[in-house]
């Protein structure tokens, strides 16, 4: 088997083609939104959102509906819920997130555990099943992904200001509250889309690791986003090939690839100092 064949052989399968397409889109999307997650210190929130989507996915699964749709509904409910609890000021935001996220995860697992094929289904939801991506899923991913990326491009400057300097945002009379909610919504959408490739358990890693790596390599926001996107895409592609040849769960392979890139960059940077 020559070198090119290593890359081409898997592409003869339609499911693999779809997986690679979906994986790359998700990799890019997570990496771009991840830039804000890393810079604004929202890692915990990203992880929580991912887990909190579980019940929605579980219900969709039990009813035989579209998983993405179920996840979408759940994400909207959770994002609003976090806003509601922390806005009252009765509990701190991270406490509210912690409670909601643990409850939602438990509810999700409880529902799925009532099905017979429990173990397999749960592992797909937790760690993704990128090779099971249907053509319809691919279109939804593409559509939602485009919406998220366009919004990020359009709101590039306002997002930068509310993240870097909320006081300036206020003096410029930016609708900071609204912008924060939009950002939260985009984050929720991103997490939902990443369900198929890396699952709820690993979505946070795809948000954080490529962006954290890019942070080490760049000094401005836009380049950070591009480098992060490139790392996200490469991790997804490389991870899927690894998953194909070594028969490991796709989500794990993708996240481990991203982590390997992070470690390499970190150590090289360290060595230079």
């Amino acid at each position: 088997m020559n070198f090119m064949n290593v890359f081409i052989t898997p592409l003869t399968y339609a499911f693999m083609q779809r997986g690679l397409l979906a994986g790359t889109m998700v990799g890019v999307l997570c990496a771009v939104m991840g830039t804000y997650v890393v810079l604004r210190g929202m890692a915990f929130l990203g992880d929580a959102l991912a887990h909190a989507i579980m019940p929605g996915v579980a219900i969709a699964y039990l009813l035989g509906g579209n998983l993405l749709l179920g996840a979408l509904v759940a994400a909207a409910v959770v994002a609003l819920g976090i806003g509601y609890f922390s806005k009252q000021g009765a509990v701190r935001e991270d406490t509210a997130i912690g409670i909601l996220f643990a409850a939602a995860l438990s509810l999700g697992v409880a529902m799925i555990s009532s099905i017979r094929s429990y173990a397999v289904d749960l592992s797909h939801i937790l760690f993704g099943n990128v090779l099971g991506v249907s053509p319809a899923d691919l279109w939804i991913t593409f559509g939602l992904g485009t919406v998220v990326l366009l919004t990020v491009v359009l709101l590039y400057r306002p997002f930068m200001v509310i993240s870097f300097d909320p006081v300036l945002a206020a003096t410029l009379r930016l609708p900071a509250e609204l912008l924060r909610n939009v950002m939260l919504l985009l984050l929720a959408l991103t997490v939902v889309i990443s369900l198929q490739t890396v699952g709820v358990g690993l979505a946070a890693a795809m948000l954080i690791t490529p962006a954290a790596t890019a942070y080490l390599l760049t000094r401005r926001l836009a380049p950070m986003m591009f480098v992060s996107a490139a790392i996200g895409a490469i991790s997804s592609l490389a991870g899927l090939y690894l998953s194909y040849y070594f028969n490991i769960v796709s989500g794990s392979a993708i996240v481990l690839t991203a982590t390997a890139i992070f470690l390499a960059v970190f150590l090289i940077k360290r060595g230079r100092r």
């Binding site: 306002p158 003096t171 410029l172």
Partner: protein, 263 residues
Amino acid sequence: MTHIPHRLEVENISVAYGDNVILRDISFQVPHGAQIAVVGPNGAGKSTLFKALVGLLPLKNGRILIHGMPLGDHKDCVAYIPQREEVDWRFPVTVTDVVTMGRFNTRGWFARPNRDDHEAVARSLDEMGIANLAKVSISDLSGGQQQRVFLARAIAQEPHILLMDEPFTGVDATTQQVTLNLLDHLRQRQVTAIISTHDLNLAATRFETVMLINKRLVAFGPAKEVLSQENLQKAFGSSLLVMENGAMLVDECCPPDEDHHHP
């Protein structure tokens, strides 16, 4: 004769973080082009007052008028230079990026900065003597340079009112001088400036008007009257040291108790 409203009128405002009321019943008026020093001990609410003035913190009661109109009716006439500890210096932006942010409002949010904006940015970098740092990442700047970046941004904003939170703390003599020169320029341009400082000497010598606060307004008016020993004692309590020659110093080593155990 038509009545010209004060540039800034603050009427009975109270400001709180949650249920913790920091400022109570503060009222004062600032005419056009005035320059005011705000002094008070750590935790007195100087930064809190500034944040309220830009509309960042909601008012529990009272109101703030600028040019006779409520806060919020104006787009870009207040500029704010934050206390340096309040900025995330690890954020991936360059000096130019930061100064350009001051221009974002001029042409709407989606428009890219145009030639005018670039020129305004270059001019303010020049004025602050940091044109050579334009492409440098803000994480690589010294304290004084950081200060000047924010001064440059404020100039680029072309404000009517400029708020500076402790611009003289922890910067070198050059930056202090640059800041003082800027204040002179601003005076000529009729820009109102409100500056918080811990340097009582500076407040007494460089500002005609001084505001002394500690949660409440202790005194407001001509520097000589406000900075009397009695007033200072009221505001600073035991951390005020009176020297034998009558000079007064504020002992900064021990911040007030509230700072140690707020929730």
